[in-house]
Each structure stands twice: as structure tokens, then as C-alpha cells.
Amino acid sequence: MQIVDTVVLLAFLDDNDPRFEKANAHVQTISFRQDILVPSATMLELDLELKTHGVDDTARAGIHERLARLIPSSRVLPLTSEVLGRAAELSKTAKWRGSYFDTMIAATGLEYKADAAITTDRKFANLGLKITF
């Protein structure tokens, strides 16, 4: 099983991103492969990225309405107390700036026994997950 990091969804949204083609292919596989799952923290970070960059509430609602078709709820892993506790443990070693969502996403993968994270962020290797893209 593999989990999807936020960088995949962000690259999927921007067809000028050099990672676009592969990100688009990864997102396309989510709906029909049961072993590719998206942490809730990935969805939350994506929404905050959109909000931070000025995507208004109406547009965000429309984006999520459509994303729900591409990423059905059966492919989304929950953000549980166990995940948050593990993320807090990971935070002891994740000292880089902006590690909060990284630790939650990695903790989700570890709690649900993922083999790897689909990401270009090499820091995930420091959190106990192999990386692939």
C-alpha cells in the first residue's frame, strides 16, 4: 500500500508543474487501485494551500465536490488519535520548518502499514517511509 503526499495533488492542479504528468497519472490511479490511499492530512493541507493562495470559498467548495469523484472516501485514510499521537512522536525528529503536515501524513502511512509515500519530498525517508514518485 502507498500513501499520497500533498505535493502530488498540488502538481496535479498545475499543468505547468514539471511533475504534472506523473502526478496526473497517480491521481488517475487512485479511484481504481485499492492500494493507493490518501491521508486525511493530505486533503487538509491541500485545502489550506488553496485557501492560503487566495482560492475563494465558492471555488474551494467546487474543487472538493469534484475531487470527491476522483478521490472517493473509501480511498481516504482517517486522521485518528493514534495517527496524531504518532505524528507527535515523529515531530521529535522532524525539526525542519513546515514539518507539521509531513509528520501527520507519514504517521498515517505508518499506522496503516504503508510501504511507501508517493512524493518528491525526500524528508519522508527520515520519517520511516520509503519514497516513490
Binding site: 500533498t6 498540488l10 467546487g62 469534484r66 472516501s73 513546515g98
Partner: protein, 42 residues
């Protein structure tokens, strides 16, 4: 609670929805850098 049936999506539907999503995002993420979301919380 009964699990909701999730209909499979076709390649054509995927492309249509993806295009609509990108249109809604517009060019707002052009200046994006990894980690922007979290930094906005500080």
C-alpha cells in the same frame, strides 16, 4: 451503516473533472512553494 456505493470513473470523466478543478484553481498556485500552508498558520 451501509457503505455508500462509489461509482467507477471513466478516463473521459476524469479528464473533464480535472479540467474543471484546474479552472477553479486558476493561476492561484503559480507562486506556490512546498510548505506554504503550514507557514500560513504561524
Amino acid at each position: 451503516m451501509q457503505a455508500k456505493q462509489e461509482p467507477k470513473i471513466t478516463k473521459k470523466e476524469f479528464e473533464k473533472l480535472s479540467a474543471e478543478i484546474r479552472e477553479l484553481v486558476g493561476n492561484k498556485l503559480k507562486s506556490h512553494k512546498d510548505g506554504d500552508a503550514e507557514l500560513s498558520l504561524e
